[in-house]
């Protein structure tokens, strides 16, 4: 069986900056895979390439055997992407926003209603979905956007820092949504985070990124054992030679 995501020797150059420097990793179908590392490690660039937003300078990325450069239109049909600090349309209500997004996936009205109803349940926002999104708190907005990314049951969803900036309760709620949805609908998740403790509890496997390269990869438990560390933060520090 092929992988959900296969990235081979991916290089991305912005002017003089090498954002990715020969990145290689595979994501298995139905797993939650985390790209973790400090700010500027190349996590967002990697997710943007997988999501067809950026073109790799060299190397290849395949999503369910579809090339993200040559088959970009096909890739977009089976993935969803949640950018870091993404916003919703300020003057649409949460409900309207979900409806607008669902309309891209199906023209069948009852299917749209079904998708939106399910998304509404995921958000847990209740009646507040009738309000304009500009009245939402950061946590509420993030819950809406995570629901948007999952509601169409994509084959792969790329989530960039899904809980960044959220308080403990909102972050917990978002993590629970992701875990539950993957289990129930066999969605593959590729997420990025600089919160290594959070990733440890959420991801089946992780890849540690530093300066555009993977410096370690495996299950959180295996990595901790291999590097004799109490948590992934310690693993990272040891791998990059800080400890």
């Amino acid at each position: 069986m092929s992988f959900a995501v296969e990235a081979k020797e991916v290089v991305k150059v912005f002017g003089a900056i090498h954002a990715l420097d020969g990145l290689t990793f595979n994501v298995k179908r139905g797993e939650i895979f985390g790209l973790i590392g400090p700010n500027g490690a190349g996590k967002t660039t990697a997710l943007r390439i997988v999501s067809t937003l950026l073109l790799p300078t060299s190397g290849t990325v395949k999503v369910f055997n579809l090339d993200v450069v040559h088959d970009a239109d096909e890739v977009r049909k089976i993935i969803t992407y949640l950018p870091e600090e993404a916003g919703a349309y300020r003057n649409l209500s949460g409900w309207e926003y979900l409806q607008f997004m669902a309309n891209f996936n199906t023209k069948n009205k009852s299917e749209v209603q079904e998708i939106v109803r399910e998304a509404a349940e995921i958000t847990g926002l209740g009646e507040r979905l009738r309000d304009k999104t500009k009245t939402y708190s950061k946590g509420m907005k993030r819950r809406l956007l995570v629901a948007r990314a999952l509601m169409t049951k994509p084959k792969l969803t790329a989530l960039d820092e899904p809980t960044s900036g959220l308080d403990v309760l909102h972050a917990y709620h978002v993590r629970e949504i992701i875990k539950r949805y993957v289990k129930e609908h066999n969605v593959t998740v590729l997420l990025s985070s600089h919160n290594m403790l959070e990733v440890e509890h959420l991801c089946d496997r992780v890849a540690l990124l530093n300066k555009g390269k993977i410096v370690a990869e495996g299950k959180p438990k295996e990595l901790k054992e291999k590097y004799e560390s109490a948590n992934l933060e310690e693993v990272f520090a040891k791998v990059v030679g800080l400890a």
Partner: protein
């Protein structure tokens, strides 16, 4: 009071640093006006001088049916201030084709009884035919100068002895008892309304389009949008159509208000005769209206596509608005210029410049179709359509690639200099 303003100085300093250090704001607020207004002033001054000079150097064809001493004296009087050619035709209609040959704008017909009446100190009426070309504010300048000369001539004899009866020549046809100067006043509202409407419509819609793209970037909704299973060209067309619709609603509201404003003082202008512009052929034909609509549409589309491209280089709404502001001179210059002047009265270099700006064409088309010159309007549509296709292609390429996310305006020189300064400080 001092307590209330505590921290004001510190805060103001921060505000100024933030605003002045933004190169886009510096460019739009300081550099562009410093360059634009002197250029605009020079162009207007030059063009108005040129137009006034042309207007004062009028050429007149005279049909002298009298041949007496007084008519010769009258002609000599006119010759002192303008170019005069005597033509011998039996009917006034035969003199009309000669206007082009002599590059003249007025025909004066002196009646047989001229010398006799003046000798007897009786009133005599000369007939004055002025060409009406819909050229702008200086239309009818020749007719005014003639009035002045007739008045001066009268002063030497007796008041109101020579009376001039005015008629207009519109599109080569004589329209009796219609003063072309009055027609000019009547059409002035049209001459002002059209450029102002286009100016407002284009700048509003460009602002809307630029803001809507920048909002998507600022709110980080663009990234999500670009990963959806939809055609990216559809995103571009959606942006353009949305902006056109909102701008059109704005333009209708604006026009309604402006029309009311214009009619409030236009109603006080006396037309002299009961003039119906449609029957005079001074209203566009159905085809002319279609051409004008098409010209407006393609121009609007090109302006919006340009705004979308430009705003792609901004990171936020403020930046997009500042960058789009740099295009405004290209809208304002032709609008202001063509409000007062006929494009054909401009010097050749300026004429080419005005024709090259796509935003001039609806204004040129509006005047052209009113005068029945559909070819000029059609050629304008073809030119703007070609420009629009190129711009739309660039915009669609921009949306099809990662450039829409990664493009940024870079001020390399400024940055390099700043870095050097920082290094020196260190």
């Amino acid at each position: 009071m001092l307590d209330l303003l505590k921290g004001f100085g510190n805060f103001l300093l921060k505000e100024l640093k933030e605003l002045i250090r933004d190169p886009k704001i510096l460019l739009a607020m300081v550099i562009v006006p410093l360059i634009m207004f002197p250029i605009l002033g020079a162009i207007l001054n030059f063009s108005m001088q040129a137009a006034q000079e042309t207007a004062t150097k009028i050429t007149v064809l005279i049909i002298n049916r009298d041949g007496g001493e007084n008519s010769t004296r009258f002609m000599e009087y006119l010759k002192a201030s303008m170019k005069v050619f005597t033509v011998n035709v039996s009917k006034i209609e035969d003199a009309v084709p000669l206007l082009t040959e002599y590059n003249a704008t007025e025909i004066i017909e002196i009646p047989e009884t001229f010398s006799q009446c003046l000798a007897a100190e009786e009133n005599v009426t000369i007939r004055v035919y002025s060409v009406f070309s819909g050229a702008g504010l200086f239309e009818g300048a020749g007719s005014s100068i003639l009035d002045g000369l007739v008045e001066q001539f009268n002063r030497e004899l007796a008041p109101n002895l020579v009376i001039s009866a005015k008629s207009a020549i519109i599109k080569g046809q004589i329209v009796e008892n219609v003063d072309s100067r009055m027609l000019g006043s009547l059409m002035l509202s049209q001459a002002i309304t059209m450029p102002i409407t286009i100016m407002i419509l284009l700048s509003y819609s460009m602002q809307i389009a630029a803001t809507s793209v920048a909002m998507e970037k600022e709110e980080k909704t663009l990234e999500t949008l670009l990963t959806l299973p939809m055609d990216r060209f559809a995103i571009l067309m959606g942006k353009l159509s949305g902006s056109i619709i909102v701008a059109a609603i704005g333009a209708v509201a604006y026009m309604a208000g402006f029309n009311y404003y214009m009619s409030s003082f236009m109603s006080t202008i006396s037309i002299g005769a009961n003039v119906d512009l449609v029957s005079l052929g001074l209203a566009p034909s159905l085809f002319g209206y279609l051409l004008l609509g098409l010209s407006l549409f393609v121009t609007l589309l090109s302006a919006l596509a340009l705004a979308v491209i430009i705003s792609a280089f901004a990171e936020d709404v403020r930046g997009a608005q500042a960058i789009v502001g740099n295009i405004y001179p290209l809208i304002f210059i032709p609008s202001l210029l063509l409000m007062y002047l006929d494009v054909n009265a401009l010097p050749i270099a300026l004429r080419i410049f005005i024709y090259a700006i796509p935003f001039s064409h609806p204004i040129i088309a509006a005047k052209a179709v009113t005068m029945g010159d559909n070819l000029t309007a059609a050629l304008g549509v073809v030119y703007v359509a070609a420009f629009t296709i190129i711009i739309m292609y660039v915009a669609s390429r921009l949306f099809a690639t990662e450039k829409i996310l990664t493009a940024k305006l870079r001020f390399k020189g400024l940055r390099r200099r700043k870095r050097v300064t920082t290094e020196e400080l260190q």
